[in-house]
């Protein structure tokens, strides 16, 4: 918080009349509370519905009439022919971790190459990458499927990891923008000390970019938990044990199942939030480190 503290430490506030000093902060917090309320409302609804004693769909009440933990019990301990949450969770976790690792590394690599290195064709390559990203993804899905079939990776977790992470190199723009702001003289002096580009990349640029890398990592980790279209196409198996969380949960709200599984679906949504929230908590630490790094840099 050091930076922002410094910014707002300005004379206007100090000179303001007392009423302003009291009313304004209250208004500020009321406004924030209001926004939070709006943002949390659907989440609260999800949560209370997951605790509903009635397992079918009920979209016209906010709070359930009866409360129970049965949905969680069913989800976690009673896998059946359509809902096998423990297996989905395991699959998504594996996919999430590997996708996150590979694509974060890919993004950092391309961002560094485009930001910190100079080579022939660099700008053309950048423009080309950005252009590639404009092609409608949904359209190329079927082609990706057959490419994967060609190398025998349909219906497998490995195939999904490849699909989610292979193209990630195209998403370098934000991180590149950030690398651009890292002082060039820092790199130059390191080079004079005999450091290789690899050393500069791993020892200087990456530690300085933690906040943005945290953002990249989180984004990469989220992809496989959110995607159901590609997963449905790639995973041909109809055995719930081979599905991902997104696929499985989406399946629960189809016509024949929604009447029996809607609250279970909600419970699943809440359960997915757990690993992602844990990730956020861990990453918060790096945010703080990012601040100190920023201080050194300035």
């Amino acid at each position: 918080m050091t930076n922002t503290k410094n910014i707002s430490d300005n004379p206007i506030v100090i000179k303001a009349p007392v009423s302003k000093r009291i009313v304004r902060p209250i208004l500020r917090h009321v406004w924030l509370a209001f926004l939070s309320f709006i943002w949390l409302l659907p989440i609260i609804w999800l949560f209370v519905t997951s605790l509903s004693g009635y397992s079918g769909i009920n979209t016209s009440h906010f709070f359930p009439e009866t409360w129970s933990l049965a949905n969680y019990k069913k989800l976690l301990f009673q896998p059946d022919t359509v809902a096998n949450f423990p297996a989905w969770f395991k699959n998504s976790m594996i996919i999430g971790i590997f996708t996150c690792l590979i694509s974060s590394i890919f993004v950092m690599m391309t961002a560094y190459a485009f930001s910190c290195m100079r080579f022939r064709g660099r700008k053309q390559l950048m423009s080309f990458s950005i252009t590639l990203g404009m092609f409608p993804g949904v359209l190329s899905m079927i082609a990706i499927y057959f490419v994967m079939k060609m190398i025998g990776l349909t219906n497998s977790i490995v195939g999904l990891i490849i699909i989610y992470s292979a193209g990630s190199g195209l998403g370098f723009l934000i991180l590149k923008g950030f690398f651009d702001t890292i002082s060039g003289s820092l790199r130059e002096s390191a080079k004079l000390d005999g450091a290789s580009e690899l050393t500069i990349f791993t020892k200087i640029v990456i530690p300085l970019s933690k906040p943005m890398i945290v953002y990249t990592v989180i984004n990469a980790f989220l992809t496989p938990w959110m995607d159901f279209v590609m997963a449905q196409l790639m995973i041909r198996s109809k055995d719930p044990r081979n599905w991902t969380v997104a696929m499985g949960l989406y399946n629960l709200v189809q016509k024949t199942l929604v009447g029996k599984y809607f609250s279970v679906f909600c419970a699943g949504g809440v359960m997915v939030a757990i690993p992602i929230s844990i990730l956020f908590v861990i990453m918060q630490k790096f945010y703080v480190e990012g601040i100190t790094a920023g201080g050194v840099k300035g």
Partner: protein, 474 residues
């Protein structure tokens, strides 16, 4: 453009020079690629290069031999099966699969293309080494070459794997789907049972003339306009919303910033499709919000002032054009702002402090600092990503698809082309391929969307993409 031409000419002329002036080993490297390296004492490198060549020849003989000859027709032998009721077995002829012919041919062409680049590079490199050797200069050992890969040529190491990935899941699929636009791959020509073949520009004509149904062009234009409006509005609302929210929470006067931030971040933790389905249900014609609105009399009020037609007993939040358009944008703000807040928070914490200090010493007000230092800094880092965000929003499938499942258009022109007023091009495409197996028209629409995206980007964002301002902050 002119520069490109010159550099391209230089690219080939230096190759010519290498071949012309190279010694016998350099020239022989045209056939066995590692030969020149061996002659110059680079044994390991020579072996690797030769191995690459061998693999290439093996792959290309497999693909080229089987698929390239059929590329011009995309196959001629249709599948025929004969079931023998007595042995209960089936004999199937040796049939062509148009889709695989096209796909493998493209894979072969892509491989050949990259090999050609490497081939030319290799000859030039051998020529360079030959010249160094002739001049009595030091020739890199394999170890030194390797070291070079993490130093001067580090970008090759860095970009190698990501490039292969992009070729696999982006380049090949894109080339393939583009080709589909020039074939008749549709419900009547579905491989593997049936063949499809090239039809030239017929599908493009179909899009702009009236032969599909008289509304295809009509729907295309309208969906395109909404797609562009959506992409721009959705991007900017979430972008600025996120920055302001981050600024607001990180302000010194805000108590418990971590708590507030967590409130918003929680919404990211739950998969988008779960929350979108729920929010969609909340705003459904029979959902909670409509229940509350009719209880407090809002529905009646809106009917009185004419915003809701009297015939409907509900507010058509997500079921009427206009209403649905606005709601989708609002819900997208709900979905997108926490993400933007997160990245903006990371940035706000890293604004170079020296600039801020200097501004403060000069007596700049908080507002001035925000607009003169913070915003330009954020725009510098995030600006280029705005381009990608807009494109991501053009292709934003989830939000629209999940929120408009219950939307039924009453405009027959849309219906006759299987579109909806709230469809983006991407959801329309998905519907055409998924429910009607109409790949050829989906591909044509995709190509045109792509061309429009590229044109718009080049026009309005060339500054960002070219990276003219890269050095500004350094």
């Amino acid at each position: 453009m002119e520069e490109d031409k010159i550099s391209l000419r230089h690219y080939f002329s230096s190759f010519g020079t290498a071949v012309k002036n190279g010694n016998i080993f350099t020239r022989l490297s045209l056939i066995i690629m590692g030969l020149g390296h061996w002659a110059n004492g680079q044994i390991v490198k020579g072996c690797i290069v030769t191995a690459v060549e061998a693999i290439f020849i093996w792959v290309i003989s497999l693909i080229g031999g089987t698929y390239w000859p059929k590329l011009n027709t995309l196959g001629t032998v249709q599948r025929e099966e004969k079931f023998d009721p007595l042995t209960m077995t089936k004999t199937v002829n040796h049939f062509d699969n148009s889709l695989l012919i096209l796909l493998f041919s493209i894979v072969g062409i892509v491989i050949a293309f990259f090999f050609a680049i490497y081939y030319i590079y290799n000859i030039k490199q051998i020529y360079e080494v030959q010249k160094r050797k002739e001049a009595g200069l030091h020739v890199n050992t394999f170890k030194e070459d390797c070291r070079e890969m993490i130093n001067g040529k580090f970008f090759i190491t860095l970009l190698g794997l990501p490039t292969i990935g992009v070729i696999l899941v982006n380049v090949i699929p894109i080339v393939f789907m583009t080709c589909i636009g020039f074939t008749n791959y549709d419900m009547d020509h579905q491989p593997p049972t049936y063949l499809f073949t090239w039809v030239g520009l017929r599908n493009f004509k179909t899009l702009f003339t009236s032969s599909v149904s008289d509304s295809f062009g009509y729907v295309f234009i309208r969906i395109l306009i909404w797609t562009l409006i959506w992409a721009i509005v959705a991007t900017f609302t979430t972008f600025f919303g996120g920055i302001f929210l981050a600024k607001f929470i990180n302000d010194k006067r805000t108590k418990l910033p971590a708590m507030w931030r967590t409130f918003f971040v929680i919404t990211i933790a739950i998969p988008q499709f779960v929350t979108l389905l729920l929010v969609g249900k909340m705003f459904g014609n029979n959902g909670i919000v409509n229940g509350i609105c009719s209880q407090i009399g809002l529905t009646g009020f809106l009917q009185d002032i004419g915003l809701v037609s009297k015939g409907l007993g509900y507010i058509p939040f997500l079921s009427k054009p206009g209403w649905a358009h606005v709601m989708i944008i609002l819900i997208n703000i709900w979905v997108g702002v926490p993400f933007q807040m997160l990245s903006a928070t990371g940035l706000l914490m890293n604004i170079p402090t020296d600039q801020l200090e200097a501004a403060k010493i000069d007596g700049a007000s908080e507002r001035q600092i925000f607009w003169k230092i913070t915003m330009p800094y954020i725009m510098f880092v995030m600006g280029p990503s705005l381009v990608t965000s807009i494109i991501a929003n053009i292709n934003n499938f989830n939000v629209i698809y999940l929120l408009t499942t219950d939307f039924t258009t009453t405009n027959m022109k849309f219906a006759n082309s299987h579109g909806k007023e709230v469809d983006l091009l991407i959801t329309w495409l998905f519907n055409l391929t998924n429910n009607y197996s109409n790949f050829k028209m989906a591909s044509v629409i995709g190509i045109i969307t792509f061309v429009i995206c590229v044109a718009l980007t080049l026009l309005s964002f060339s500054k960002f993409v070219q990276g003219d301002r890269e050095e500004e902050f350094q």
